[in-house]
């Protein structure tokens, strides 16, 4: 910036406290107002309002021509979204659970994600694929996975994973406006659903009006000097809880919320680890071949010397998510495992 530039001061925005789901719906509604080419389709997104409240109230506002219930035919309706996007519409298509990826994976990774590349950049696929992820409520092995590492592994789709209401809104706005396919993964545990255990952080300040949270920029959710926790989604909240507990003992934890896996903000990871020298990765997806390994490789590829101690990984230990609560809690990255990992890192 030169001295003659006038700095842009953002207008102060009114803030209300909203749940994550209400913030997400607000973004969708605002974009639908702005752009008639935005439609939302999927299973039970109409009068039900989305099984995890992803579309509450939208049918009343926009009608069945834009909030569209589909048959249980993920291959057909996700493919329909692709065709509509290719023709210049901006469809948002909901895959009810990320776990159902298998019934329609071809449309997602061979078509939605590859058309732009295969066409040499000539055909754009500006669609958003939304999907609910995560466990912690005994829904068993086929309804509790995160699988974001799988989506992120396959090239051609951006993958965003908000943890806060404000980010849920800003990232959704950015996703709808993006010319690329964006997979928007919302954790059931951060939505603020009335029928699940309350996470107090699932309701928070949300700016009024429309704004974008840029896709690909991580957020320092808590500053600290002793150890970096790199994480995303519900685990951000667990990690913040643990960080507060440990601060009473003088352990100063920095929590980095990745916000998106593709693109991955490698700069933010390196900056934080360069400061603390200690890294804990918390990931609710499976451990092997996934996000935690990628985060660690980001550091070691750049400079293994940044790490003063070995990395700690807290992820699902490569088992299907069990049903019974003690079993499920044993494999998910919950407070106890996160705390133990941080203690190991700072003690080393």
């Amino acid at each position: 910036m030169t001295v003659t530039d006038t700095p842009t001061v953002p207008a102060p925005r009114a803030k209300r406290r909203l749940t994550t789901s209400k913030a997400m719906v607000e973004a969708i509604a605002q974009e639908m107002e702005r752009n008639p080419e935005v439609v939302y389709l999927g299973e039970d997104v109409g009068s039900y309002g989305g099984i995890f409240s992803s579309t509450t109230g939208l049918l009343d506002r926009f009608g069945p021509d834009r909030i569209i219930d589909t048959p249980i035919s993920e291959t057909a309706f996700i493919g329909l979204g692709i065709g509509a996007a290719v023709e210049g519409m901006r469809p948002i298509v909901e895959l009810m659970f990320a776990d159902f990826l298998g019934v329609c994976l071809d449309q997602i990774y061979n078509h939605m994600a590859k058309i732009h590349y295969e066409s040499g950049g000539v055909v754009k696929v500006p669609m958003v694929l939304t999907t609910a992820v995560g466990g912690g409520y005994s829904d068993g092995a086929q309804h509790s996975q995160c699988l974001w590492g799988t989506f992120a592994h396959l090239p051609g789709m951006k993958v965003v994973v908000p943890s806060t209401p404000a980010d849920a809104k800003g990232l959704m706005t950015a996703a709808i406006r993006d010319d690329n396919p964006v997979v928007y993964m919302f954790h059931k545990g951060v939505m603020g659903l009335p029928w699940m255990a309350k996470n107090p952080r699932a309701t928070d300040d949300v700016p009024d009006g429309d704004y974008e949270v840029p896709i690909g920029k991580a957020r320092v959710a808590r500053e600290g000097n002793d150890v970096t926790v790199v994480t995303l989604s519900l685990s951000v909240h667990h990690s913040l809880d643990v960080a507060e507990t440990l601060s009473a003992e003088g352990i100063d934890v920095e929590v980095l919320d990745l916000r998106s896996l593709v693109p991955l903000d490698r700069e933010a990871i390196l900056t934080s680890v360069a400061k603390t020298g200690r890294l804990v990765v918390v990931d609710e997806d499976y451990q092997s071949f996934g996000v935690s390994g990628e985060v660690v490789a980001t550091v070691t590829d750049h400079d293994p010397g940044l790490l003063r101690v070995p990395v700690q990984r807290v992820a699902v230990p490569d088992v299907p998510i069990p049903y019974a609560r003690p079993l499920e809690y044993a494999v998910l990255p919950r407070h106890d495992r996160i705390e133990a990992a941080i203690r190991r890192a700072v003690a080393a």
């Binding site: 291959t75 329909l80 065709g83 290719v86 950049g121």
Partner: protein, 333 residues
């Protein structure tokens, strides 16, 4: 059916066959010694559509460039009949920077937004995107249609049935076309499908189903005419199966040891047969046939020349076009 349309169907078929013969020649020119699929000016798998020209000619005669087609891994006849630029399509097949996909797609992945043409290497998975194109066309108040084409093997895939159901449910302007060439690679239709005609399956979705026998281009033209009129009028999708002929192998290099019908195949070639018909009707003579073939040959050789003279893509740009924004470099996404 008027004389001009009949001759034009013939011309389209000849152009397509001329093209396939040229690709065949270029493909095999430098695969040796022996046969190395990854070698040569045209590397990789090659699925040629010789024998299936009546489907493309009969279908595309009813479509404009504003209508969409999603084709299969055997796409050339449909692309040519729909008016995809021959030079840029050929350049793509040759893996050149001037190709439709700048060499990123290849012959199974041709995308031409100017004619709404695309194809997919995955069986039946071109059907769902056609629904979306039809959805967008109707939503904009146009009478444009989308044609979704598969082979008969794909009619056993889930995507086929999900798409028929959804298109019927929402009355989408889609014309579903099945090219029944009797062979899903090496498996005959009789060993993969319980019903004799996939057109019967339309009944399960409450839409018209029609089978055209004998690889008859005028039969295809008539059936597609009914289906397109229905779609344009907002009456929803139709399913047409054409009993066609895969004259050559599933892919080039396929010795076809499994095929029982090969001895007869050349006598069923639809192009000389249709040519005789038009000669008998007094619509073609030696001079006219010669003109059609010479014109096709000129266009095809021009396209091949264009492809060969075009530059190969810069290896440093292999990671470009993953996303529309930030040009990506390996490992930093």
């Amino acid at each position: 059916m008027d004389a001009q349309t009949r001759v034009s169907l013939y011309e389209t078929m000849v152009l397509s066959r001329t093209y396939e013969e040229a690709i065949l020649r270029e493909y095999h020119a430098d695969k040796g010694p022996g046969f190395d699929i990854g070698k040569g000016l045209v590397p990789g798998e090659m699925h040629l559509s010789a024998g299936q020209e009546p489907v493309a000619a009969g279908l595309c005669a009813h479509l404009t460039r504003d209508d969409a087609i999603t084709a299969t891994h055997r796409p050339h006849h449909l692309a040519i009949a729909h008016g995809v630029d021959l030079r840029r399509m050929t350049a793509e097949i040759f893996g050149r920077e001037t190709g439709l996909g700048r060499g990123r797609g290849g012959h199974m992945h041709l995308f031409d937004p100017s004619t709404h043409f695309s194809c997919s290497g995955i069986i039946a998975e071109g059907y769902p995107p056609a629904l979306g194109q039809a959805f967008a066309f109707r939503r904009r108040g146009t009478d444009r249609v989308a044609a979704a084409v598969t082979g008969e093997g794909a009619a056993n895939q889930g995507a086929f049935h999900e798409s028929l159901n959804l298109a019927a449910l929402w009355s989408l302007p889609v014309v579903f076309v099945v090219e029944d060439n009797d062979w899903g690679i090496s498996v005959p239709r009789t060993a993969s499908t319980a019903v004799g005609s996939n057109a019967l399956r339309a009944a399960a979705y409450g839409i018209p189903g029609e089978r055209v026998e004998d690889n008859d281009v005028e039969g295809v033209y008539a059936a597609v005419g009914r289906a397109v009129a229905r779609a344009r009028a907002g009456e929803g999708p139709s399913l047409i199966e054409v009993h066609t002929l895969r004259l050559w192998g599933h892919f080039e290099g396929d010795a076809q040891g499994y095929r029982q019908d090969l001895a007869d195949a050349p006598t069923h070639d639809p192009i000389p047969r249709y040519e005789r018909r038009l000669r008998d009707a007094g619509l073609l003579d030696d001079a006219a046939v010669e003109r059609v073939k010479a014109s096709a040959s000129e266009r095809v050789e021009d396209a091949i020349r264009f492809a060969k003279e075009s530059p190969l893509p810069d290896p440093a740009a292999a990671t470009a076009y993953v996303f529309t924004d930030a040009p990506s470099a390996g490992g930093t996404r």
